[in-house]
Amino acid sequence: MSTSWTPDGSSIHQLATLLKNSMSPNPNESTTALDSLKSFQLQPEFFNYLCYILIEGETSEDLKAHFSVVDLQNNRATAGMLLKNSMLEKGGFVKGNHNIDYVKSHIIHGLYNSNNYLVSNVTGIVITTLFSTYYRQHRDDPTSMQLLSQLLKLISNGNEASAKALSKIMEDSAQFFQLEWAGNVRPMEFLVENIMKFISGPQFSPVIKAESIKCINNIIPLQTQAFIVKIDEFLNNIFSLAQSSEDDQIRSQICVSFAVLLEFRPDKLVDHLSGIIQFTLHIIGSVEDEKVAIEACEFLYSFATSPNMPEHLVQPFINDIVPVLLAKMVYNEDSILTFENSNEDDAFLEDKDEDIKPIAPRIVKKRDGNDAGDNEDDADDHEFGDIDTEWNLRKCSAATLDVITNVLPQHVISIAFSYLREHLTSEKWYVREATVLALGAMADGGMKYFDDQLPSLIPFLIEQMKDDWAPIRKMSCWTLSRFSPWILKDHTEFLLPVLEAILITLVDKKKDVQESAISSVAVFIENCDAEIIETLLYNELLQSFGKCFAVYKKKNLLILYDAVGRFAEKVELDDSAMQIILPNLISKWTALPDNDKELWPLLECLSCVATSLGDKFMPMAPEVYGRAYKILCNCVDLEIKSQNDPTVQVSEKDFIITSLDMIDGLVQGLGTASQELLFPQVTNDTTLLQVMVHCLQDPVHEVRQSVFALLGDIVYFYNPQILSGTLAQFLKFIGTEIMHNDDVDGVPALINAIWSLGLISERIDLKNYIIDLSRVILDLFTNTTIVLDSSVTENIAITIGRMALTHPEVFTSGVFCSDAIWNKWCESVKDLDILEEKTYAYMGFIKIVNITGDQVSMSDNTLSELIKGLSKDVEVSMFSEDVLSLLMKYASKIQTLKLTPDEQMFLQQFSSN
C-alpha cells in the first residue's frame, strides 16, 4: 500500500483551478474546465488528486495561498462530487487503471471534522460509492474492513456524519455484507452488533440513533441470521424509543421499521399491534413535521394492504384509525389560505409552459423501478391555488382510507358515516370538501354498502358542484366519477342528472375545476355502455367537447384529448363529430412542432378518432400519415445514430409509440383503403416494415406492443404479399417475444405478438417456420410452472386454432396430444364472443381433434366443454362436415351428457341434416 503517495504541487494547483472554473457562472469557462477535467479522468492518479482536494482542500498551504476561502470550500465539495461521479461512471475504475490507494486510506478524514456539513456529507457519499463500486468487487481488499471499523469507531465517539455515511452504505450495499470479505470476515455480524449498540446506548445522539435504525431498516429485508437473532432486542429498543423519544427523525425511522417488519416479520408485530397503531396515530395526530406524520400514515397504509394481516387483526383498530384519517383529509392551514386567496375565476388565463410539467417519459420511469420521485403524480402544478402537487398527509390519509375500505367496507363505512354525517353540511368549506373527498375515497371499496345513502347523496353531490368554493366543485366532480360504476350499473336514473351537472362544470370558471370535470367525463365515458352514449349522450357530449375546445387552455386540453379519444373508442363518430371535433384537433396538430410532447396525447386522440371515423377520415389521412411516419422515422434514425455517437440525443419513446399507434389507427379506420397510403404500389416502398422490424428490437415493451398491433392489422387488411420481404424477421421477433415472457409489464406486448402470429398463420402459409413456432406456442400453453394471464392463454388457444387451419398436423402429436390439454383449450376459448375469431379457432381445433383420431380419448368433461363452446357464437356452417364427423365419432358419449336446451338445439341442426 502506497500511503506514501504525495500529490504533485502543480497538478494540484491546476486541478483546483479547473474545479473552480467548472463552477463558474460563465458557461464558456465552465464548459472548458469540464472538458479539461474529462481529459484528466484518464490519468491514473486522478481519483487520488480529487480525494486530496476533498480532504486537504482547506489545509494545504499551497492552495490556501492561491484561492479564497470560499473557493477552497467549494472546491472540496466539487472535488468530492466529481470523484463520486467518476467512480460511478461505466468502467470508471477500469478505464484509467486508477490508483485509489490514497482514496482508500484518507477518505475517512473527510468525516473527522463534521462541523463542515457539506464536506462530511460529500465524503459520506464518496465512501458509499467506494463500497458500491470498488469494494463490492474487491471484497478481499483489507482496507474495506479498516474503513468500516474506522467508521464504527467514529460513530461510537459520537460522530454523526459517520452515522449518516454508514446508513447510506447500508442502503446501497447491505446485502453484500452477508458475504465473506477480507480476512474471512462476514461484516454483517459485527455491523449489526455495533448498530444495535448505537440504538440502545443512552450516550448516542438522536441523529446517530435515527441513522442506526435506518441501517437496520435496510437489513431487515435481507432476513439475515445476524439480525434475526437480535430481532427481539431491536423491537424492545424501538418500542422504548417510541415511548421516550420526541425526536422526529427517530420517530420517522421507527415508523419505517414497523412498515418493513410488517412486510418481512409480521409475526413479530402481531402481539404489539395495539401499541404500534396507537403510536402511529399519536404521531399523525400530534407531530408538527408532516414528513414524520406521512411515514406514520404510510405504516397504516401498509398495515391495511398487507397480505400478512388478516382482516380480523385489522378490524379492532378501524374505530381508532378511521377518525384520524378523516381528520387529516382536511386541507392544512396553508393550503386553505392559498385556496381562499385564489378562488377567483381563472379560466381565461393562459397556462404558462412552465406550469405544465413535462410529461415524464413514463417508460423510462417505469423501468427505473425506484423512480427518483413522483414527478408524474398529478401532472398539475400550475399557478398558486394548486397546492396539490406533492405527496402529503392528506393524500396519504385518503389513500389509506381507500384501501382500508376495500378491506373492511362495512366497518369503515359505519364508523366513517357517523363522522361524515356531522360534517357533510359544515359551514366550513374545507370541512365539506374533505367530506366529499372521503366519500370518493370510500367509493371503490364500499360502493355496495352505500346503496342506502347514494340516492340522496348523489343529488347532494350535484348540489355541491354549484358551491362557491372551487375546491368543493372540483372534488364533487371526482367523487361523482368514483360512483360511476354504481350509477351505470342499475342506477342509470342518476346518469343524466349527474352528467348534466358535470357537463356544465366542464366550462367552470376555474381551471382546476374544469380539469376535474373533464377527467370525470372521461371516467364516465370509459365505464358507460356504448349504447347509452349512443342513444342518450352522444350529442350532448359532442357539444360539450366543442365548448371545451373553445375555452380550454393548454393543460386541460391534454385531458380533453384523452376524453375525446375514449369517446371515439366507444362510439362510431358521425358527421357532426367531424364538424365539431376534427377541426379543433387538426388545427392543434398543425400548430405543434414535431418534437412537442403535446403531440402524444393528441396523436393518441387522433388515432382513436381516425379509427372511429373510418372512411370519413380519408381526406385527412395522407397528411396525418405522412407526419406520423416522419416522426417515427426521425426517432428511429436518431436511435441508430446514437448507437455510434453517444452525443446524439434520442427522443422519448412516446414519440415512437404514439406515431405507431396513429398509423395503426389509420389502418383500422380505413382498412384496405389505407394500403396505398402505407405501401404505395408505384414506389413499392416498404420502408415502414423495416422501421417496424427495427422497433421490435426495442427493449421498451410498449414499443413492441404497438409494433405487433400494427403488424397484425397490416396482415389482416392488406395483401399478405407485402410481408414477403420481412416475414422471416417478424416471425423471429414474435418467437423471441413469446419465449421471453417473464416480465409482467410485457404482457400486453406478448399478447399482441401471439395475436399477430395467429393472423399471420391464418393468411400466410408458415411452411418451414410452423414447426418452431408451434413448439414455442405450445411450450407456453402447456407450461404448468408459471401462472399465465388469462388473456394470454386465451390468445394462445386462438392462435393454435388459426395455425391449425393450414397445419393441423403439428398439433396431433407431442404435448398437445392429450385430453387434459384439449380440455384446457376448450376452457380458454369457450366464452369468446367475437364470431369470426371464435369460428376460426374452433375450425382449426376440430381439425386437430379429427386428425388426432384415437390417440386421445376425449373425456366427457372435455366433450361437454367443446359442445358448449361450439354452440354459441360460432359459424359452424363454415366447417359443418368436420363438426359432424366429430359428433358422429362421439355420438354415444354425447347421449350420456347433460346438455342445456341451447346445446341440444345446436346438435339438432346436425341430426336433421
Binding site: 377567483e344 408524474e376 398558486f384 406533492e390 355496495k448 340522496s456 347523496l457 398491433a709 397484425g712 367475437i834
Partner: protein, 518 residues
C-alpha cells in the same frame, strides 16, 4: 404580461392608468381642500390598488379607535380590543368609517385617505361629521346601540386579531426568501416566512406566506403597492381561520356595463367595511360583465345591504344576493337570536339538512328536489321516445325507492305546494337508513346489484378492469387501461368491419385528475 398581472388587472381594473391619473388630481384637490397633512403620502397611495385603499381605511379606522381610546381612556388599549372599542363608540365610530367611505363615493375623491394619526381626535371627528351617514332609517331603528354592540362583538370579523400573517402572491419566480425578507423587514420584524416551492423542481411557485411580529406591520404593508424583483406583488391579509366565518359575502347582479371596479367598491363600502370587492370584468373589453362579489367583515353589513333585494346604483336596479354558503344564511331579523342560539340551532339545522340522515329534508332544498324529479321524468320520457321502451313503471319504481311514501305521479306537481310532492315534512320523512332499506331492497344486499330488472341497460360488454382507471395503485393506470389488453376487446362497436384487433394502444397516460395519486 403574465397571469398574475392579468389577474391583477382583471380584478382591480385595467383602467388603473386612467384612474390613477384622475385619482391623483382629485386626491391633490381634496388634499388641498381638506388641508390634510401629508399630501405626498396621499399621492403615493392613489397609485395603489383599491384593496390598498381599503386597507388604508381600515388602518384609519383603527387609528381612530386608538385615538378614541386615548380620549375616553376608559377602554383598554390592547390591539385585540379594537373590534370591541369600535363598537363601544358605536355609531360614532361605525359611522366614522362609513363616513369615510362615503366621502369617496359621493365626492369621487380621497382614495386612500391619509392616516389621521397626526390629527387631534376632535378635529378629525369634526371633519368626518360633515358627512352624515346615509344609513337607512330602518336600520337605525332595528339596531339600537346596545343591541348593536352585543351582536357585533360576537359576529364581526376581527381583522386585527392574530392577523400578523400574510399571503404574498404574484412573486417573481426568482424572488428568494432572503430577498422577500429583506423587502418586508422595513415594515417590521418578520418572524416567519416561506415561499412555496415545487417539490420536484424546487422552483418557486410564485407565492408564499409571511408572519410579522406585529399586526401593525400588516396594516402598513397593505397600504401600498409593492414591487419586488420587477414584479407587482400581491400581499393579502390572511384572515385568521375562526374569523373567516364571521365575514359575509354577497353577490351583486344587474350592474351596468359602465360601472368601474372602483365605483363598485366605493358604492358598497357605505354598508360596511369591505374585505374584498370584485367586479367581474370581460377580459376582452375590460367592461363590467354585470355582476360581482363583495365580502364584508361582518354579517351585519350583509344584512344591511340585503335589506332590499334591489338597490339603485348608477341608474340601474341592481340585484343583491347572499353568496355565502347556504347554511350561513340567516333570516335577517333573527340575527341576534340566531347568534345567541348558535350552537343549538346550528346543529339542528345541520341534522335536518344532512342527506345522510335518510332522505332529504324538503325544507333544505325542496325546489331542487322537485326540479330534479321533474327532470328525471323528462329523461325517462326522452328515453322512451328514443328506445321505444315503456319506462313509466320503472320510473315509478325508482321514485318509490328513492322517496319512500311518495306518489311518483306527483313528482311533477306544482312546486308551489311544498311538502306534498316530496313526501312530507321532516317529521314524516323521518326515514332512517333502515327505513329506506326496507323499501328499497328488492333482494338481499348482495343481490341488489343484480336483482334490479328493467333498467335501461344495453347488452354489456366485458369491461374488465375499467374501474381500475382511477385506482390508487397507479401501476395499472399507465399500462393498459380499461382492460384493453385482450385482443378481443373490440373498439368498433356498431361497425361491421373487422371486429377484432390487437390492443395497439399501450394504454394512455392518465392525465386526469385524482386527488391522491402518488
Amino acid at each position: 404580461m403574465n397571469s398574475e398581472d392579468e389577474d391583477f388587472n382583471d380584478i382591480y381594473g385595467n383602467d388603473e392608468e386612467q384612474t390613477t391619473q384622475k385619482g391623483t388630481v382629485v386626491a391633490q384637490e381634496s388634499a388641498n381642500v381638506e388641508d390634510v397633512e401629508k399630501p405626498k403620502e396621499a399621492e403615493k397611495e392613489t397609485a395603489s390598488s383599491s384593496l390598498d385603499q381599503l386597507a388604508a381605511l381600515q388602518a384609519l379606522s383603527s387609528n381612530l379607535t386608538n385615538l378614541a381610546n386615548q380620549g375616553s381612556s376608559t377602554e383598554s388599549v390592547t390591539p385585540k380590543a379594537v373590534g370591541e372599542s369600535n363598537e363601544s363608540n358605536s355609531n360614532d365610530d361605525a359611522s366614522a368609517s362609513v363616513n369615510n367611505q362615503d366621502v369617496s363615493s359621493t365626492n369621487q375623491s380621497t382614495p386612500g385617505m391619509p392616516a389621521g394619526n397626526n390629527l387631534p381626535w376632535d378635529q378629525l371627528r369634526q371633519t368626518m361629521s360633515q358627512f352624515q351617514p346615509p344609513m337607512p332609517q330602518q336600520q337605525q331603528q332595528q339596531q339600537p346601540p346596545q343591541m348593536n354592540n352585543d351582536s357585533q362583538r360576537k359576529v364581526k370579523a376581527d381583522l386585527s386579531k392574530d392577523s400578523c400573517k400574510m399571503f404574498i402572491g404574484g412573486l417573481n419566480w426568482e424572488t428568494t426568501e432572503d430577498t422577500l425578507r429583506d423587502y418586508f423587514n422595513k415594515y417590521g420584524s418578520v418572524v416567519e416566512l416561506k415561499i412555496m416551492k415545487d417539490n420536484n423542481t424546487g422552483r418557486s411557485r410564485g407565492f408564499g406566506f409571511l408572519t410579522f411580529e406585529n399586526a401593525s406591520s400588516v396594516d402598513e404593508v397593505v397600504k401600498t403597492q409593492h414591487i419586488l424583483d420587477g414584479k407587482v406583488i400581491d400581499p393579502k391579509r390572511a384572515i385568521p381561520r375562526e374569523e373567516q366565518d364571521k365575514t359575509g359575502k354577497i353577490f351583486v347582479g344587474g350592474i351596468g356595463a359602465d360601472v368601474r371596479p372602483k365605483e363598485f367598491e366605493e358604492f358598497f363600502a357605505q354598508y360596511g367595511t369591505i374585505i374584498d370587492a370584485q367586479l367581474m370584468l370581460d377580459k376582452d373589453t375590460g367592461r363590467s360583465r354585470g355582476f360581482g362579489f363583495v365580502t364584508y367583515d361582518s354579517p351585519d353589513a350583509v344584512d344591511r345591504v340585503c335589506q332590499s333585494k334591489y338597490i339603485e346604483f348608477k341608474g340601474k336596479q341592481i340585484e343583491i344576493k347572499r353568496a355565502e354558503p347556504r347554511n350561513n344564511q340567516k333570516a335577517s331579523g333573527q340575527t341576534n337570536n340566531m347568534n345567541n342560539m348558535n350552537n343549538g340551532m346550528g346543529n339542528m339545522n345541520m341534522m335536518y339538512q344532512n342527506p345522510m340522515m335518510g332522505g332529504f329534508n324538503p325544507m333544505y332544498n325542496q325546489q331542487a328536489m322537485t326540479d330534479y324529479y321533474q327532470q328525471m321524468q323528462q329523461y325517462y320520457q326522452q328515453m322512451q321516445q328514443q328506445t321505444g321502451v315503456d319506462y313509466s313503471q320503472m320510473f315509478q319504481q325508482q321514485m318509490q325507492m328513492m322517496m319512500p311514501g311518495m306518489n311518483p305521479g306527483a313528482a311533477g306537481a306544482d312546486p308551489s305546494k311544498p311538502g306534498q310532492p316530496m313526501g312530507g315534512s321532516p317529521s314524516s320523512n323521518s326515514a332512517t337508513p333502515q327505513d329506506n332499506n326496507d323499501v328499497q331492497t328488492l333482494g338481499n344486499e348482495q343481490n341488489k346489484m343484480e336483482d334490479k330488472h328493467g333498467l335501461p341497460k344495453g347488452p354489456r360488454r366485458p369491461s374488465a378492469g375499467s374501474s381500475d382507471y382511477d385506482r390508487y395503485n397507479d401501476n395499472d393506470d399507465y399500462q393498459y387501461r380499461g382492460g384493453n389488453t385482450g385482443r378481443r376487446l373490440n373498439h368498433r362497436i356498431g361497425s361491421n368491419k373487422n371486429n377484432y384487433r390487437g390492443s395497439g394502444r399501450g394504454g394512455r397516460r392518465s392525465h386526469g385528475y385524482h386527488p391522491y395519486n402518488r
